[in-house]
């Protein structure tokens, strides 16, 4: 049996592998050095690479991503951490106006090889300002690549691609997955940006999922197998580039599509995927496209309330049953 590791450890491992192979990779963020990150996702980096390559910053999100941008424009490959993805709002100018527009506005004069990592999503009971899934905040901005892995091996493989990319990449690490375990990535493991994975083949219905909703979808699929409903689960792994072909080719086999996303229904990434399939795959469908997304409210604190808001296995199972009999 392959060696197992945690998603959390895979983050540090993925960064460390790139720092070993490329001395221009430098990390910065709050509490990432000797403290090894509030989520322990930078464990061992400070000890191995020292203060010249792992920089603790003040609580200054604009300075963190702004400085990372300036460094990326001038020969460094910065890996910046924004502790909670909710704090993207504190530096949204850089995410929406500076980083994604730099190459375009200058007519291609400037290159921005930059990674911004962040702990995203709910499930840990941190309340409304530390639990949101904000993929849609960045998905709405042209010029950012977006990765959101669901397994430890994909964390390592996508981290390699993100750090090696000459384009800015937003890298979502899901808080609810940090303790989850999976196979250790083999040496030199690289997962290209923009390649979805069929993580469970099936015939009756396609679920497209991302990050935390992948294990949710897999649990639902397992339960539905007992009811003779064969569900295919596609892990998008990235939002940009978006592997629309993988979605369309799965729907071509199953003719039914359910999108499961943790960001709110209102403006969530599933709406864009649904519009592509409606536009380019309408004749493939035997049922309406459905979405299980977060309710359009702030994330509540109590588990009993949070479960009402974010996608759960029960909600996915229920949606699949209704779609399967449409």
């Amino acid at each position: 049996m392959a060696e197992l590791t945690t998603y959390r450890q895979a983050v540090s491992d993925g960064i460390a592998r790139e720092m070993r192979r490329d001395s221009s990779v430098v990390c910065l963020g709050e509490d990432i050095g000797a403290a090894e990150g509030v989520f322990k996702t930078t464990t061992g980096l400070f000890a191995e690479f020292g203060p010249e390559r792992v920089w603790d910053t003040p609580i200054s999100e604009q300075a963190i991503v702004g400085a990372a941008l300036g460094a990326a424009m001038t020969g460094i490959r910065p890996v910046a951490e924004i502790m909670f993805s909710d704090f993207f709002a504190c530096c949204y100018d850089y995410l929406a106006n500076e980083i994604p527009k730099m190459r375009y506005m200058t007519g291609g004069q400037v290159t921005v090889p930059l990674v911004i990592r962040t702990a995203n999503g709910g499930g840990l009971g941190f309340g409304a300002q530390h639990s949101q899934a904000v993929e849609n905040w960045v998905f709405t901005v042209p010029g950012l690549k977006i990765a959101a892995p669901s397994t430890p091996a994909d964390v390592v493989g996508l981290m390699a691609s993100a750090i090696r990319s000459d384009d800015p990449v937003i890298f979502f690490e899901h808080k609810g997955l940090l303790a989850s375990k999976g196979e250790l990535a083999p040496p030199d493991h690289v997962v290209p940006l923009g390649e979805a994975a069929v993580v469970r083949p099936g015939d009756d219905l396609t679920i497209v999922a991302l990050a935390s909703t992948v294990p949710t979808a897999l649990s639902a699929a397992e339960q539905l197998a007992g009811e003779d409903i064969s569900v295919e689960v596609v892990d998008l792994r990235c939002l940009v580039p978006l592997d629309a072909k993988a979605v369309l080719s799965s729907v071509a086999r199953t003719s039914r599509l359910l999108l499961v996303e943790e960001n709110p229904y209102q403006g969530g990434w599933g709406a864009t995927v649904a519009s592509i399939v409606a536009d380019e795959g309408f004749e493939l469908l035997d049922a309406p496209i459905r979405r299980v997304a977060a309710e359009c409210v702030p994330l509540p604190f109590a588990d009993a309330l949070e479960d009402v808001v974010i996608p759960t296995v029960d909600k996915v199972v229920d949606a699949v049953r209704r779609l399967a009999t449409f």
Partner: protein, 335 residues
């Protein structure tokens, strides 16, 4: 911290004449930009830097070719001071394919990356952390390059200014924060919306940084001040804040006549025109009027030719709209 009024300034006459010509080139280009805006050949907006020339030229003269400069949406003077030609600047303003940014940026985003002019930023204050990052990069790479962020007085009240200054101080970065204090944030007197009299310099102390308040209309003073700060930065002694007092000769943007400024204030500052100050100093150094006029004539010729060149240039191929998003040159976000 007092305004420098050192009368014992020494400068080589030949060098000062070069600076004068550079400032005159900027002035004439800004005049052309204004005329082209009024005639409808420049669309959108412009924020002209006429009056601010000494800051750009004096600072640029104190920098190395491989140093980095970050400017604001009022940044034409910095692009030209770093080596962009009036023709490529005006072509950009006129939406032409030969523009500095292939007409994708416009007046507010002039950039000349191969000369270290790493952009003009139109979100107030946003480039201060970016400049700090370029300085951090120089420190990481051990190149002893310096980064300079030029910004207006209005930028001193936005969060990024304070975050950048603290980070640069803590990390001892080789960066200069140069405020072009022209007394107005857009249309409002900066004094009426700022808690301290010197919006940039007074904030430096809060971050443990040295500050200089200087006559930003005297190119020699600007050069000499920036030179000292650059040497300090290169030596590893960290950032300096420079507050250069200057004045806009046009309004805030577009065709703004700036009627909110008292006439006597305008008159006082027009007496302190940076070109006039440089010309007087040249004369006192024994440079003949004819030599100075010859510089003006050369500049007129260059800018007139630049206007014609920009007019003659083609508009961009519409297909260019869907390029330059990604490093592969394209804009494809899905398969």
């Amino acid at each position: 911290m007092t305004v420098s009024e050192d009368t014992s300034i020494r400068v080589d006459a030949g060098r000062l004449l070069e600076w004068y010509e550079e400032m005159a080139l900027i002035r004439r280009t800004e005049k052309a930009a204004y005329d082209l805006f009024m005639s409808g050949e420049v669309k959108g907006t412009t924020h002209l830097a006429a009056g601010h020339e000494a800051v750009a030229v004096g600072a640029s003269a104190a920098l190395r070719e491989d140093d980095y400069v970050f400017a604001t949406y009022r940044g034409h003077h910095h692009a030209i001071a770093r080596g962009a030609t009036p023709a490529e600047c005006l072509a950009e303003l006129m939406s032409k394919a030969t523009g500095l940014c292939k007409a994708k940026g416009g007046s507010m985003h002039l950039t000349k990356a191969d000369k270290g002019m790493l952009g003009s930023y139109a979100i107030v204050g946003s480039h201060l952390p970016i400049a700090a990052g370029a300085a951090w990069s120089a420190k990481l790479r051990g190149t002893d390059q310096v980064a300079v962020a030029f910004f207006g007085d209005g930028a001193t009240n936005i969060g990024a200014f304070h975050e950048a200054m603290n980070l640069a101080a803590v990390w001892k970065l080789p960066v200069l924060f140069v405020c072009e204090n022209n007394l107005y944030m857009e249309y409002t007197p900066i004094a009426s919306v700022t808690s301290v009299p010197n919006p940039a310099a007074d904030r430096a102390a809060a971050n443990g940084l040295p500050a200089e308040i200087i006559d930003g209309n005297d190119v020699v003073i600007v050069h000499d001040t920036v030179k000292v700060a650059v040497e300090r930065a290169r030596a590893g002694d960290g950032p300096t804040v420079i507050e250069a007092l200057t004045y806009r000769q046009y309004g805030h943007s577009r065709a703004d006549p700036a009627k909110y400024r008292p006439a006597d204030e305008v008159e006082r500052w027009m007496q302190r025109d940076p070109l006039r100050i440089a010309r007087d100093r040249l004369t006192s150094l024994g440079v003949g009027e004819a030599d100075i006029d010859a510089a003006d004539a050369r500049v007129a010729q260059v800018v007139d030719a630049a206007v014609q060149e920009a007019r003659d240039a083609p508009f961009p191929d519409p297909a260019q709209a869907l390029t330059d998003v990604w490093a592969d040159g394209g804009a494809v976000w899905r398969n």
